[in-house]
């Protein structure tokens, strides 16, 4: 193994360990590792200035394809499209949250079902999945879990089953679209897939699994959710949805911007606007519409996540350029003996198990070049491997309290309100649900693509 390969692996492993140890903030870890990769792997070991430029991928901004893409293209190095899109969506979501949109939506739906516990339980699961198709699951769960706790105190039911179900459905909903979960954005922008491609592939799997999940959670949580007061709820005494709106004008404007974002995303394969263009447009419109608070919105943007992505893409680029990912791909092909079904099972279940314990974003970023290489050598269609990887990383994260960001936020909101959810309580219900959904996905992928 060449020195460059050894250093690329050492830096990657050290980065992963430091992320798990959580001693240093993860964006410093990935950025530091990224800089180290540039200096040691590309500079000292490979002495390849061109590779550094390719990894930084800054010239991509100046190309037409970055903003307007007619044919599918694959990208390498720092995936700026992902970063620009996520930044744009973050700014839009901040505007929506400031106007009270999410709290209003949660309360509105609760009122629509007359605040009855079981209907609230079912509708909140659906809402969690649908919202997560377009908005990051952290924001969705942050608001949904808070409203669930509030309703549970007013309606006297245990919020834990509802929060757990919402977390699971948020991760499931995120797997349905290109913009629902960061691994999908990485897969989509790296391999040139559209929103529609995801919706008609992972979206269908997520849809089927959502129905199964709702039935599963209804059966396992029914007893815990039954409220004695269901018959006596006087909803006139509950806080009205309209009270959630902090400013009517801002509320209308943010709703329109969100609607535009959804339309642009759904139609981007027709309009040929890339997610980078959509992210930039949405951010610009939000900042213009909320001109007075523009600085505040920008300050609230989670820049740490964006920095985290930049560092991560450089480190993964180091693995790719040095041929490590090809070695991994060869290894997967070898142990599967070229059997497509076995390869699918390995990618899906290894992705799922890994994502249940470590951050699924670095995992997905690492696996994208691996599946590209596998598709070339094994002959299995790249899209099949891409959907398998997306489903594995997105859904596997639901199995444990640390598997996905939504899980951490949901359990934290619950604990802060006096409902601590330990590993035992969490895994007892959500790990079996994850296994069921993964099994359904495996069967679906076999039947449809092989």
């Amino acid at each position: 193994m060449a020195a460059a390969q050894i250093f690329a692996v050492v830096i990657f492993v050290a980065m992963f360990v430091l992320i798990v140890m959580d001693k240093i903030e993860r964006h410093y870890v990935t950025l530091g590792s990224g800089i180290l990769s540039l200096i040691v792997v590309f500079g000292i070991c490979m002495r390849n200035g061109e590779a550094v430029w390719n990894i930084l991928a800054l010239k991509g901004f100046a190309t037409k394809d970055f903003w307007y893409q007619v044919t599918e293209t694959e990208s390498k190095g720092i995936n700026w499209a992902t970063i620009v899109f996520i930044a744009g969506m973050m700014i839009m979501v901040e505007g929506m949250a400031k106007a009270g949109f999410f709290r209003w939506l949660c309360m509105k739906i609760a009122f629509m079902v007359k605040c009855k516990t079981i209907p609230v339980f079912v509708t909140f699961m659906i809402m969690s999945a649908v919202l997560s198709m377009f908005i990051d699951s952290i924001t969705v769960i942050m608001f949904l879990a808070a409203v669930t706790v509030e309703l549970s105190q007013l309606l006297k039911f245990n919020p834990v089953p509802m929060i757990l179900s919402e977390i699971f459905c948020a991760n499931l909903g995120g797997s349905a679209t290109m913009c629902g979960d960061p691994p999908n954005i990485i897969v989509g922008t790296s391999l040139g897939y559209s929103f529609g491609d995801f919706l008609t592939n992972t979206g269908l799997i997520a849809g089927i699994c959502l129905i199964v999940s709702i039935i599963f959670f209804y059966i396992v949580f029914k007893k815990e959710l039954v409220s004695d007061n269901d018959k006596e709820i006087d909803i006139s005494k509950l806080p009205k949805p309209s009270e959630a709106i902090t400013n009517k004008r801002d509320f209308i404007v943010s709703s329109i911007i969100f609607g535009c974002a959804v339309i642009l995303l759904v139609t981007h394969s027709v309009t040929h606007l890339t997610v980078a263009t959509i992210g930039t447009f949405i951010a610009a419109v939000t900042l213009i519409a909320f001109a007075k608070d523009a600085v505040g919105l920008l300050k609230k943007t989670d820049y740490k996540t964006l920095v985290f992505f930049i560092g991560l893409f450089i480190v993964v680029g180091g693995l790719e350029e040095t041929g490590i990912l090809e070695i991994i791909a060869d290894f997967i092909e070898k142990i599967s003996g070229g059997d497509a079904k076995l390869m699918i099972v390995i990618i899906l279940w290894v992705s799922a198990v890994a994502s249940a314990f470590v951050d699924n974003i670095p995992f997905a970023a690492t696996m994208v070049p691996v599946i590209q290489s596998l598709a070339e050598t094994s002959g299995i269609a790249l899209p099949t491997l891409a959907w398998t990887l997306s489903i594995g990383t997105d859904i596997g994260g639901s199995a444990t309290p640390i598997g996905a960001s939504a899980n951490v936020v949901g359990t934290s909101v619950a604990a802060k309100n006096g409902y601590p959810i330990g590993w035992g309580k969490y895994c007892k219900k959500l790990a079996p649900a994850t296994v069921i959904v993964l099994a359904i996905s495996t069967v679906y992928i076999f039947m449809r693509y092989l």
């Binding site: 798990v20 140890m21 959580d22 001693k23 952290i138 942050m142 989670d302 309290p401 640390i402 960001s405 899980n407 951490v408 936020v409 359990t411 934290s412 909101v413 604990a415 802060k416 309100n417 006096g418 409902y419 601590p420 959810i421 330990g422 590993w423």
Partner: protein, 197 residues
């Protein structure tokens, strides 16, 4: 009387909690230690036993994760609830004594804070723990080591300064030198001199 907040950090077995209780009595102000657990339990609906289980415990790193300030660790969430509670009490102008809970750091911005760290010679700590918990010498020593290790990890995770580092406190005192009673006298005089109370 103006506001007075006495923060007492302590080594396990140093008599820090007893000293804190005596100071609370002498200044006629409430003490938040075990009481803090009850207060947080009342606010959250958790039982004191549940809070006690995670109280002043460092989180288990390998099975914990933090996202945008949210943590799945119950230990973290209980700690944050206690910090928030103390901050609210501090901001409300109430006088009180607080034992541990990183209070010397978390309440540092309040000029009414007097922070003290109580330590003791190992011999004295072992003797005390053997009496209180009816343990053998070896077991007492092991118990002290375990407890202090836990407190140190808890403190150093939630604060930038190091547990027991003299630069973090207004005063560090070895209770074995004067004994508990005289240490309380000394601290009372010091606090009165500092605060004109």
């Amino acid at each position: 009387m103006g506001q007075l907040i006495i923060s007492v950090g302590r080594e396990f077995g140093s008599g820090g909690r007893v000293i804190a209780e005596a100071l609370a009595e002498r200044f006629g102000i409430p003490i938040y230690d075990r009481h803090l657990i009850t207060e947080v339990a009342d606010r959250t609906g958790l039982t004191p036993e549940e809070i006690e289980k995670y109280n002043e415990n460092p989180k288990k790193k390998i099975i914990s994760r933090r996202v945008r300030g949210y943590s799945n660790s119950i230990e973290d969430n209980i700690a944050e609830m206690q910090f928030r509670f103390l901050k609210e009490k501090s901001d409300s102008g109430e006088s009180f004594v607080v034992v541990g809970r990183c209070s010397e750091t978390k309440l540092k911005s309040n000029p009414a804070l007097v922070s003290v760290f109580v330590l003791a010679d190992m011999e004295a700590k072992v003797k005390r723990i053997m009496e209180v918990y009816e343990l053998s010498e070896d077991d007492a020593m092991e118990f002290i080591r375990k407890k202090d290790k836990k407190r140190k990890r808890y403190h150093n995770y939630h604060c930038s300064g190091h547990w027991g580092d003299s630069r973090l406190y207004d005063l560090c005192i070895n209770s074995s030198c004067l004994g508990i009673e005289k240490t309380v006298d000394y601290l009372e005089n010091y606090i009165r001199a500092r605060t004109d109370i």
